[in-house]
């Protein structure tokens, strides 16, 4: 076994240092090349921003664009455990279709995996659309509670009371601790016999709940955990938003005789919108793509608790349907992309109305 000795520390520092040096030297070389190409040869007016972006863009191309293209290629192949690996036994799905059968060729050859996502079960028995709808429901429920919970806590924390710092510290904690650990801790709390939730229910004289086997309650458990995890982020964002709203608005409203509720809906909400838009887009994407919570809380692998990303994981790694799951992944990706474009477009439109 390896243990932590001075030797190890020195070695790892030198390696980390080497890595940093490697990256710095690499960036300098890259910058020089960019400078030569854009300034000296092309005489581009955008040389400086291009140089500023250079290292990040290079890294992203290698580490994100290349893998994406690899997956894209895979999504057109018939790769599975039987046609596996560098033996290159897998190929693009090919079949002889007559030219007049172009539709057939598209759905059963070129885009077979993509079409299969919609016409075959994505898991054992469940089809795409129920899982999709469940994912939408999951995202919606979570976002509503995150926003409501975050708003309430942010408003409470924005009150002039003692100990706000301490409360804030405690309330941020769910965000700060490693997610997997938090989720595993929560799973224990939903245990039928020993979990806190059921123990409390019994003490209150209620029936215990089958959190792990009952589809409805398992889904509820997932939501509870994720709401707990996500509220602090919203709370922090909204607290920042609240603190930046000038008191003049409220003073003016008070003079006009507006009630607290009116102030909230007419001043607070509209002025929070600019901070809420990016938070909602990011929050939605994170919730939609949340893997840890649905995967670990669903200990019994109920298909009724799977959302798209966990279904994707199972398709790829438990069933080894590589080509199919690559297509599946792209479909999820495209859905989210469309949503974001749509949302940003809508909210930008709204912004203009307010400005």
């Amino acid at each position: 076994m390896d243990s932590l000795t001075l030797d190890v520390v020195v070695r790892s520092i030198s390696e980390v240092g080497g890595t940093v040096a490697f990256i710095v030297v690499g960036s300098i070389i890259l910058e020089l090349i960019l400078f030569l190409i854009f300034k000296v040869i092309l005489k581009s007016p955008h040389t400086l921003p291009i140089m500023l972006l250079g290292p990040a863009a290079f890294g992203m191309t290698v580490l994100i664009v290349y893998p994406l293209l690899w997956e894209l290629n895979l999504s057109f192949t018939n790769m599975s455990l039987r046609r596996f690996g560098d033996k290159a036994q897998y190929t693009w799905i090919a079949c002889q279709a007559k030219p007049e059968n172009i539709n057939f060729w598209l759905t059963d050859c070129l885009f077979k995996n993509y079409v299969d996502v919609f016409r075959l079960p994505v898991l054992k028995q469940v089809y795409f659309f129920p899982v999709f709808l469940r994912t939408v429901l999951w995202t919606f429920i979570n976002m509503v509670f995150h926003l409501v919970g975050g708003t309430i806590l942010a408003i409470l924390l924005n009150q002039p009371i003692r100990g706000r710092g301490i409360y804030r510290t405690f309330l941020i904690l769910p965000w700060a601790i490693p997610q997997v650990i938090a989720v595993l801790a929560w799973r224990g709390e939903f245990h039928f016999e020993y979990g806190f939730v059921n123990l409390m229910l019994v003490r209150l004289g209620l029936e215990q709940i089958n959190w792990m086997t009952d589809p409805f309650w398992n889904f509820a458990a997932m939501c509870i955990v994720n709401i707990w995890l996500g509220i602090p982020f919203m709370m922090v964002i909204l607290l920042g938003g609240l603190q930046s709203i000038s008191s003049d608005y409220y003073e003016a409203a008070e003079i006009d005789g507006a009630s607290g509720l009116q102030q909230f809906t007419n001043i607070t909400i509209p002025l929070l919108r600019p901070v809420m838009t990016p938070a909602i887009v990011l929050g939605t994407i994170w919730t939609f793509n949340n893997f840890n919570v649905p995967f670990f809380i669903n200990q019994f692998e109920l298909e009724t608790s799977d959302i798209l990303v966990t279904a994707l994981f199972r398709a790829a790694f438990q069933y080894n349907r590589y080509g199919f799951s690559a297509a599946f992944a792209f479909i999820i990706f495209i859905i989210l992309l469309l949503y974001s474009i749509f949302y940003i477009w809508i909210s930008d439109g709204l912004k203009e109305v307010y400005e």
Partner: protein, 298 residues
Amino acid sequence: MSVTTDSSNNDNAFQRFFRAKRGHSPFNRMLIHLALIISSIIAIYPVLRVLSVSLRPGDRLLSTSLAIIPSDATLNNYFVVITEKDFMLWLWNSLAITVSTAIIGVIFSSTSAYAFSRWRFPGRNTGMLFLLATQMIPAAMLMVPIYILAVKLGLLGTYRGLVIAYSVSSIPFSVWILKGYYDTIPRDLEEAALIDGANRITAFYRIILPLSTPALSVVFLFNFMQAWNDYLLARVLLANATEIWTWPLGLQALQGQFQTAWGQFAAASIMVMIPVVALFLYSSKYLISGLTAGGVKG
């Protein structure tokens, strides 16, 4: 608290705001405290339960007792994890990788965000949308190609591979946050410096960066958290190199097919929480302004 240059003004406005308009009656104040106390308990209770498991002798994950400190509490699990496992080595590796990741990530994203914030160059909007799009890629999807790439580049089982992968994957979110923040810094400041003879880079370094401390801390924190908590990438990129395993890989070894050493698992969990929580608390004063300033323009 506020990001703009007239922060002192705003702070005063704040205090006036609280004193003058929102003083609460003792009863209301009590209600607010009550609500906050209940919320705080809900927020920390699961952590306390982990603490409780870590103090129990044997591998008793479950117990009907609701006491946080069990009657037969022992620190044995901590002792075992520290002395008999390589836990300290894992923690050290995580720390080395995480800190260098966070630093590199901050450097690259701060410059990129500056380009996005101050120049209108071809492909700028597409670039921003692409950054957002990367947040939508299901992580599991990229594991296999990234592994193949690491093998080809000889980055498997090295600090280098992991640091590069983490730094790059943290760029999109960091750039979004920083770009939003830079947008709120008036251009006049740099232009004044340019007139004084400074060049763009000096202006960026002398003016923009110091003003962006809150956002930079937030980005540092996010990069740190992401690298510290990552399991998937570490699993594929470190593979055989047990001597540089990070803590999530080490903890995984405590979990068997059917059995888990829950006591040790919990003890280790508590210990890995400490650095992140400490960093979080330290930077929490920046967290609020750093995250939201980008969205607030009025």
